[in-house]
């Protein structure tokens, strides 16, 4: 332990010199660090925190058109994409979408090398329905920061990946996810152990697609989380921060334990130029990143590949904000409810490909008002298969332009309004077939949200 009693002036000079010569240490100012670490020697033993989001959504509630064949019975019924998720019972209404409460900190504040993060979800969304519970545990992790350059986080936490799913929800700039993130990254497991015929409006034999699982949701949506171990860190060089993460997880979402021997591997790397030494979740920076996830899911004793990979960038300087992202999916991808109806089995394609991209811009008219526009495209089920060109063709192209505005009452309370101009096509389906009719029923969507963090 050092004990020196040097004079003030000498020490001040030496320190000023040392400060000028040494590189600053890496700071908690990116998603890996913000979510996985605490500020050393500053974190409380337990910081209670959380957030709530109250949504209002509305569409014109356009019904499914007149359909033929086995889907004829669905004619005139509600279209799933025009209803409010996750219940799909109404086309308009208020919803307590997210209500999370958690605690984080350094359980033994003297030890700056260990921190933890616990959080549960009480809102109404994919996490708390379809097998999830009110008060569903969404985060339970411990980070050990003993090894320079290789912090270790274990438990249940957000997986390193796409910016849209990785970033903290309290700073999400829109009400709804893009189509690509919603359908390809927010994983929803479907269990086909029950006979499909026993489900409401069971899928007729002629309407069953190749390489497709039909069933019901039996578990909470994965919420871009997994249980496992992650090695990560951030290295600072001048204004740049370089981060990496390697995670090995169950690949079983919020289930806490595994259901098969297959594990998921997550890789993440980013380079970020930080402006003006800013920090926090809305810091000013230019970031570029790349990521991948690869694994398998076991359904009814069969293992199916599920791979994702992407690249992207974000920019924010306090006035202008921009983000772009592109990613691909290979293996299992979400098919949605059969016939686009609300009371039909859900489908998951087991051997398909997809790609998605988005361009997102924001402009702060005033420090507390931001205007937003986002353009996103999802090319779903792009791989040719036995159904291509038929009346049960899987391919869909989702295109959405979202216009939005956000008002920040203060740093922790905001309101936003979005208008989504939505388009859906089934470009390779047989002309005049049911898919080409169903897609025309998609409405534009109006949504509003108030969010508070405490």
């Amino acid at each position: 332990m050092q004990k020196n009693y040097t004079t003030v002036k000498k020490s001040a000079l030496l320190i000023a010199l040392a400060g000028a010569l040494t590189a600053p240490t890496a700071q908690a100012a990116n998603w890996l660090m913000l979510q996985g670490t605490e500020k050393p020697n500053e974190a409380p033993a337990a910081k209670l925190w959380g957030f709530a989001q109250i949504d209002y959504q509305q569409t014109d509630d356009t019904k499914l058109p007149t359909l033929t064949g086995g889907a004829a019975g669905l004619s005139g019924t509600s279209a799933a994409f025009n209803q409010m998720a996750p219940q799909l019972n109404t086309s308009s209404g208020f919803n307590i979408k997210r209500a999370r409460i958690g605690v984080r900190g350094a359980n033994f504040p003297l030890d700056k090398d260990v921190n933890y993060f616990l959080m549960a979800e009480f809102g109404n969304n994919g996490i708390t329905t379809g097998g999830g519970t009110q008060g569903q545990l969404v985060d339970a992790s411990v980070t050990i920061n003993k090894i320079d350059g290789a912090r270790v986080r274990v438990g249940l936490f957000k997986t390193p990946g796409s910016e849209e799913s990785f970033k903290g929800i309290p700073v999400f700039n829109y009400v709804n996810f893009t189509n690509g993130t919603d359908r390809l990254l927010i994983e929803k497991s479907v269990d086909n152990s029950a006979a499909v015929a026993a489900l409401p409006d069971g899928v007729p034999a002629g309407a069953r697609q190749a390489d497709t699982l039909y069933g019901e949701r039996t578990a909470a949506a994965f919420a871009a989380r997994d249980t496992g171990i992650q090695v990560f860190d951030t290295f600072k060089h001048n204004d740049w921060e370089y981060s990496y993460a390697v995670m090995y997880g169950n690949g079983n979402g919020l289930a806490l334990t595994d259901n098969d021997k297959h594990k998921d591997l997550y890789l993440y790397g980013s380079a970020e130029k930080v402006f003006d030494n800013s920090d926090g979740p809305r810091r000013h920076s230019l970031k570029m990143y790349a990521w991948s996830q690869s694994g398998k899911r076991t359904v009814d004793n069969t293992a199916y590949k599920r791979d994702r990979a992407g690249v992207g960038m974000t920019y924010f300087d306090g006035k202008y904000r921009a983000a772009a992202e592109y990613f691909t999916a290979d293996g299992m991808i979400w098919g949605g409810p059969v016939g686009g109806a609300t009371n039909t089995p859900l489908s998951v394609f087991t051997d398909q490909t997809a790609d998605a991209y988005q361009l997102d811009f924001g402009y702060r008219v005033k420090p507390n008002i931001e205007l937003n526009v986002r353009y996103d495209v999802l090319n779903s089920a792009t791989k040719k298969d036995a159904n291509t060109g038929t009346a049960i063709d899987k391919k869909r192209v989702f295109t959405t332009t979202t216009l939005g505005a956000q008002y920040f009452f203060n740093k922790k309370t905001s309101a936003r309004i979005n208008y989504e101009i939505r388009d859906l096509t089934a470009p390779t389906a047989l002309a005049g077939s049911n898919p080409t009719k169903v897609v025309d029923a998609i409405d534009n969507r109006l949504s509003a949200q108030v969010m508070m963090v405490f």
């Binding site: 004990k3 009693y5 050393p40 500053e42 003297l110």
Partner: protein, 152 residues
């Protein structure tokens, strides 16, 4: 008459007795030399991390109010407040900036030793922080010499 050997032993004894206060004084931090009109000692002993920012803000604001040349400031940490002084604390940039303008930072050795016992290893303080034998004692020492105590 005392023998020469006895005289030498007495001389050594007297020398040791005279030297004792000198050795004892070396275990206490000396009072700073200052001609500043205002002298302030800021106490941080709270475990609340927000107090770390607060005490640094207060130091900065006092300097602005009186002028850097007119005020002498020492921040003394003891108890849980010592976390501000530990290596790795992200406030080090601000502390260095304050150090460069003359603010001193002192950490309580008693607390550090207690923390070391609890943790099983010694703790390092940030570069530029002085370790004083007792934080509370240092505050009283400065107060007796004319420093005003402020605990934000």
């Amino acid at each position: 008459m005392l023998t020469k050997q006895t005289q030498r032993l007495f001389a050594l004894l007297i020398g040791l007795v005279l030297a004792l206060p000198v050795f004892a004084a070396q275990t206490e931090a000396p009072l700073p030399d200052t001609f500043a009109a205002h002298k302030v000692v800021l106490q941080i002993s709270d475990k609340d991390p927000s107090k770390q920012n607060l005490v640094l803000n207060v130091a900065q604001n006092i300097q602005r109010y009186y002028g850097v040349e007119n005020v002498d400031i020492e921040v003394v940490a003891f108890g849980p407040g010592v976390r501000l002084m530990l290596e790795g604390n992200e406030n080090i940039k601000r502390m260095k900036s304050l150090m460069a303008s003359g603010v001193r930072f002192s950490a309580c050795d008693n607390t550090l030793q207690n923390f070391a016992k609890q943790l099983g290893h010694e703790l390092k303080v940030s570069e530029g922080v002085t370790i004083v034998p007792a934080g509370a004692g240092r505050i009283l020492q400065l107060n007796a010499a004319g420093w005003q105590i402020l605990q934000p």
